[in-house]
């Protein structure tokens, strides 16, 4: 079953608020996502805040607003209750705090907008001024700079026509030159320079990733660290596509996330050393793996034991600080099923025996990044997550397990075989409501769920 075609959650009638109400699950708080807009401001957003919001219960022809209280928060989405309804929840509405029509108290007066109560309660309160004074004095409102901070965090240094080096999705051991076509919420649609165009000008090969993804690099990176890069086929003409019409502009290191410096010291990973690694082609599996090649700047090529083709084309580049590579025994200590090489059995496999049989050494534990900074994710929390095997798609997902920094994500409605391990600081996971803010299409859950 393929997820490749995608759906639009809004068109499919999916709404986060009612979905969470029905399922009884919670959303992961925005403050869990360091790369997400407003993450640093989110501690100031909580239940009880007063806001000004569009009044959708009025017969007036012009756009009017009313005061509301945040009664529930799920990701960026807030359940609001208009002032005056008190304990009556029938007119509660879900709003996205990150979108334009939710404002701090005072915004309407500054912007010459009128506050008008919903028609259902207009005549219930005789003296609105006294009522509002009583409700508002000493209460908290949204940060005044919320929308400015939102706009700041959505600013991106990548534009259409910027060239990058990115993993070649047809052969993961190498990179390939690509050009930015579209930027949505910090996510890049990259077109391979020799990806080709179809008869109607459609792109035949593209790749999506976040600007902070470890899969995307500045031009010149592959040569610098010794990574293999596909030579661009100059016979493929992409000139008719808008992304290739301007003079291409090479990306530079400052536009990318800085990785933790790896101090080589006396020991570093060596070719042949064994480890456990998230399988880049089957991200729900943590496998028995080997260091195959050392590159510069702390990068290593890793192969999955027993399934390698033999020509190195399925090796994958991980940085030594990556949380997708783990010391031997990590799965056993954390009750994660380790994917063994074909022919091995869980009842008889031990690392000690395997190392002896293969005449290899385990990569020393101290070489791995064991920093655990803590995170707020817990199993059952909902979020919006990229399907890394089809990275164009951002899907409704649930945290199934948390092991140290690793999160096992389940895509709602899909079989567990589609589950994926990601780092808690992965730039490919977003709070509930992120798609709505950025205009990115959200994939709804499938099936009865």
């Amino acid at each position: 079953e393929s997820r490749a075609f995608g759906q639009d959650a809004t068109l499919a009638g999916f709404e986060w608020g009612s979905y969470l109400e029905k399922s009884g699950f919670l959303a992961a708080p925005v403050s869990c996502f360091r790369h997400a807009p407003l993450c640093a401001q989110w501690d100031d957003i909580y239940v009880g805040l007063k806001v000004e919001v569009l009044n959708t219960h009025t017969a007036l022809p012009s756009k009017v607003y009313w005061i509301a209280t945040v009664v529930q928060l799920t990701g960026y989405k807030a359940l609001l209750r208009y002032e005056g309804f008190e304990d009556d929840d029938r007119f509660d509405l879900w709003c996205n705090i990150g979108t334009a029509d939710v404002h701090p108290i005072g915004w309407c007066a500054v912007n010459s907008k009128l506050l008008v109560p919903p028609q259902e309660i207009h005549h219930h309160i005789k003296d609105w001024k006294s009522y509002l004074m009583e409700r508002l004095v000493g209460a908290h409102t949204l940060p005044v700079d919320l929308h400015v901070k939102m706009a700041d965090s959505l600013r991106c240094t990548f534009r259409q026509g910027v060239r990058v080096e990115v993993v070649d999705r047809s052969q993961v051991c190498r990179t390939r030159l690509a050009v930015v076509d579209t930027v949505i919420g910090g996510r890049l649609r990259l077109l391979y320079e020799d990806g080709g165009l179809g008869p109607s000008g459609e792109v035949l090969s593209d790749f999506w990733c976040h600007t902070q993804s470890p899969l995307v690099h500045p031009v010149g990176w592959s040569e610098r660290v010794g990574h293999s890069i596909k030579e661009t086929d100059v016979n493929v003409n992409m000139g008719s596509h808008p992304a290739f019409r301007k003079v291409p502009q090479n990306s530079v290191p400052d536009q990318f996330k800085k990785l933790r410096t790896v101090y080589l010291g006396n020991t570093f990973f060596e070719e042949g050393m064994k480890l456990e690694a998230v399988d880049p082609l089957n991200l729900g599996n943590i496998c028995v793996a080997s260091v195959r090649k050392l590159l510069l700047d702390g990068y290593i090529m890793v192969g999955i034991d027993g399934v390698e083709i033999g020509d190195g084309s399925d090796w994958f580049c991980y940085h030594a600080s990556s949380h997708a590579i783990l010391p031997v025994g990590y799965c056993e200590s954390n009750d994660i099923p380790l994917t063994l090489p074909p022919g091995y059995d869980h009842t008889t496999f031990t690392w000690a025996k395997y190392l002896e049989e293969t005449g290899t050494l385990a990569a020393p534990r101290r070489l791995f990044n064991t920093d655990y900074v803590g995170h707020g994710f817990t199993p059952g929390m909902k979020l919006e997550a990229v399907d890394l095997m089809e990275p164009r798609l951002v899907c409704v997902a649930t945290v199934r397990r948390c092991v140290g920094r690793l999160l096992l994500l389940h895509f709602d409605g899909w079989e567990p075989e589609f589950d994926q391990w990601v780092d808690c600081q992965s730039p490919e996971i977003y709070p509930v409501g992120w798609c709505e803010i950025t205009g990115y299409q959200l994939q709804p859950p499938i099936g009865p769920e």
């Binding site: 640093a40 401001q41 501690d43 100031d44 007063k50 005061i67 701090p104 108290i105 005072g106 309407c108 007066a109 500054v110 010459s112 907008k113 009128l114 506050l115 008008v116 609105w128 001024k129 509002l132 004074m133 508002l136 004095v137 000493g138 209460a139 908290h140 409102t141 949204l142 940060p143 005044v144 700079d145």
Partner: protein
């Protein structure tokens, strides 16, 4: 938490403009310390 993130809460006079007229209230709002 707001202090830790380099932000502070401060009391602000805000205007409320309704059909019945305009008045001001004092509320708490957070902003950058700078």
């Amino acid at each position: 938490a707001a202090e830790a993130s380099g932000r502070k809460w401060e009391q602000k006079q805000v205007q409320i403009k309704t059909l019945e007229g305009e008045f001001s209230v004092t509320m708490w709002a957070s902003d950058d310390k700078k």
